[in-house]
């Protein structure tokens, strides 16, 4: 198809012979790619299937409005943990998305070549290796000890520490990948740098930005350690100035229990956590993904 419009040139052979070395190499590489992609997908789907199988058994409406059961109760749910996760991850996104994207704009466009940008880039890369438990220890020292209280606020701040570098580094790459011609065109029309950023570069980079945000949210939503040191857990409904329940800590608590009911809930909670991220992914793509190049 790609080589079909050349009749007038009378090139010797436009059809490629399958056993010509170059074509052969291409075929071999394609097969390897397909094989290894399929091979790599097997464990991924195996994890997903295990999750759906074990979590799906317990899916019911009760999960969303009931409070967590104690060791010997049957039934129960984790409505409070869903709310707590929504609140804390939402707060963390509220902090980290503007933070990450604005800093990324500076790294990728405005201060591309200066020292500050380079140092900041290394700082962000270093922060990606921050173990989640350290984010918790830090937020404990910086927020909980000062407020003298566990709270959803502290939890959100701890999670934002994990999200900032992910949002920032993916956003930087996404912005950098916007073709120079588009930027030049915007300048050529008399745009200020801000206008070209807001009206051209960011919309074009949007799919990449969303990937970064979704990955960051996905990571933050499943992290236990930061919340264990900042939000603790609660068996009651959400109060943002008090210890707060979250799905991640619920999974951590219940998956380690010997009680069947709680273990089932831990699996169901894992599944719902993944579904929540899935829904976020779809919504954000529906909102932000319309403008595609």
């Amino acid at each position: 198809m790609k080589n079909s419009s050349n009749e007038t040139f009378h090139l010797p052979k436009l059809e490629r012979q399958p056993f010509e070395p170059r074509a052969l190499k291409s075929i071999v590489l394609s097969s390897i790619t397909i094989l290894s992609a399929v091979f790599a997908c097997v464990p991924l789907f195996s994890v997903l299937i295990m999750l759906i199988y074990r979590g799906g058994k317990r899916l019911s409406f009760e999960l969303f409005y009931a409070l967590p059961p104690t060791a010997f109760e049957t039934g129960g749910g984790f409505g409070n943990a869903i709310l707590g996760t929504l609140f804390m991850v939402g707060l963390a996104a509220l902090i980290s998305v503007p933070f990450g994207i604005l800093a990324a704009i500076y790294l990728a466009e405005l201060g591309k070549y200066n020292k500050v940008a380079q140092i900041a880039r290394f700082c962000a890369k270093t922060m990606t290796g921050l173990p989640s438990i350290l984010a918790g220890v830090f937020a404990y020292a910086a927020v909980v000890l000062i407020m003298r209280n566990y709270s959803a606020w502290a939890g959100g701040i701890a999670l934002s520490l994990l999200m900032i570098p992910v949002v920032m580094l993916t956003a930087e790459e996404a912005i950098k990948m916007v073709p120079q011609a588009m930027k030049d065109a915007a300048f050529g029309m008399g745009c200020t740098q801000t206008q070209s950023l807001v009206k051209v570069i960011l919309p074009v980079a949007m799919p990449g930005l969303i990937t970064g945000v979704v990955l960051a949210v996905a990571r933050a939503a499943g992290e236990t350690a930061p919340l264990l040191f900042t939000a603790l857990f609660s068996d009651y409904w959400l109060r943002v100035n008090e210890p707060t329940a979250s799905l991640a800590v619920l999974i951590y608590n219940y998956s380690g229990m010997p009680f069947e009911n709680q273990i089932e809930l831990a699996w169901a909670a894992s599944l719902i956590l993944v579904l929540m991220v899935f829904i976020l992914n779809i919504i954000s793509r529906a909102i932000g993904g319309k403008k595609r190049i």
Partner: protein
């Protein structure tokens, strides 16, 4: 630009979540953190207590005894719980004073995975040897001698220990040190110890990790809490006590062990090797820590109420949950001491 609308969605969602919830009435809310060993029974107690007492709400999060003590010393919680009590120098750092109260007790068992072998007897000369790596096979003559009529396989023993730092390890190693001089001069007592490399050793985090590893590894043995082993239906070994009797883990053996200990003024007592014919050799109390002086009298009153509830109602479910109820004389002592919480 579009990111903003995404943010608005998130923000609105969060705001709605806030307003939907009922505003806080004049309630006393208590927060505790610490030991994970008694967490199942504590959370049950606290939920029932909260239900029975309008206007008081108790929250407990298991994050480890050490973390609980740190929280307690940093005043980020109202009370804490610990399997290893609290050290004197730690107590000295709390200006308000500390009241420790034993709230329940538990047993540590040796759970194993051997096809078709039930109720294994382990003499006190043997099980320290297993954990020291000196006894390596299940059909070791010393084990066979203690189990007449049982066919033991010619299989290597895989020893499963805790990977994380834990109060369970502390109690277990304290017991091993009390009965085996070799163990005392070797690994010693601690929340984590350096297990000898002679044994075929696997480490797993937390009780559930050890439980899963034992279940997954034929020929494995490991130490876990009684409640855990019972709920997960693992086989547990009967251990030889100080008087030379083999006692299976369970309520009777545990209560007999506790009956032999006298609780001192500071409420801290260890049972590294309890006397008594019927005593199961590895039992331990677990504590809650309170300040002696609280800023708000309502809080102190609620905490006292909570302690009394745990003593009266709470002990009734202890056995069902896999813990040992406190002996009657200890209950009275704790009740009296709870008056120190002011």
């Amino acid at each position: 630009m579009k990111m903003k609308s995404l943010l608005q969605v998130v923000a609105t969602g969060a705001a709605v979540a806030l307003f939907v919830l009922p505003a806080a009435a004049s309630e006393v809310r208590l927060t505790g953190s610490g030991a994970s060993f008694p967490a199942p029974i504590y959370t049950t107690w606290f939920k029932q207590f909260t239900r029975a007492n309008k206007g008081i709400q108790v929250n407990y999060q298991a994050k480890g005894s050490g973390a609980g003590i740190r929280d307690f010393m940093n005043h980020t919680v109202d009370f804490a719980a610990s399997d290893a009590a609290m050290k004197d120098e730690e107590i000295a750092k709390v200006a308000e004073g500390v009241q420790l109260l034993p709230m329940t007790a538990g047993e540590i068992v040796l759970a194993y995975n051997l096809d078709g072998v039930k109720g294994l007897n382990l003499p006190r000369s043997v099980y320290p040897g297993i954990f020291l790596g000196k006894i390596k096979k299940w059909n070791d003559p010393a084990i066979v001698a203690a189990n007449p009529g049982v066919t033991l396989p010619d299989e290597e023993i895989t020893v499963v220990t805790r990977a994380d730092s834990s109060g369970t390890t502390f109690v277990f190693t304290k017991h091993l040190c009390a009965i085996s001089p070799d163990f005392e001069s070797g690994p010693g007592t601690g929340k984590t110890v350096n297990w000898p490399s002679e044994a075929k050793m696997v480490k797993a985090p937390k009780n559930d990790g050890v439980t899963a590893t034992i279940k997954q590894t034929p020929g494995a043995i490991g130490y876990i809490e009684y409640g855990f082993a019972r709920m997960s239906k693992l086989e547990m070994a009967s251990l030889e006590n100080k008087e030379g009797h083999f006692v299976a883990p369970g309520l009777e053996g545990g209560q007999a062990a506790l009956a032999n200990a006298v609780i001192p003024e500071n409420m801290i007592v260890w049972l590294p090797d309890p006397a008594g014919v019927d005593s199961y050799p590895m039992a331990t109390y677990t504590w809650m820590m309170f300040y002696k002086k609280y800023d708000s009298p309502e809080k102190a009153e609620a905490l006292r109420k909570m302690v009394i509830y745990c003593l009266d109602e709470g002990q009734k479910i202890a056995d069902k949950a896999g813990y040992i109820p406190l002996p009657a004389n200890v209950v009275e002592k704790v009740r009296a001491a709870s008056a120190n919480i002011q």
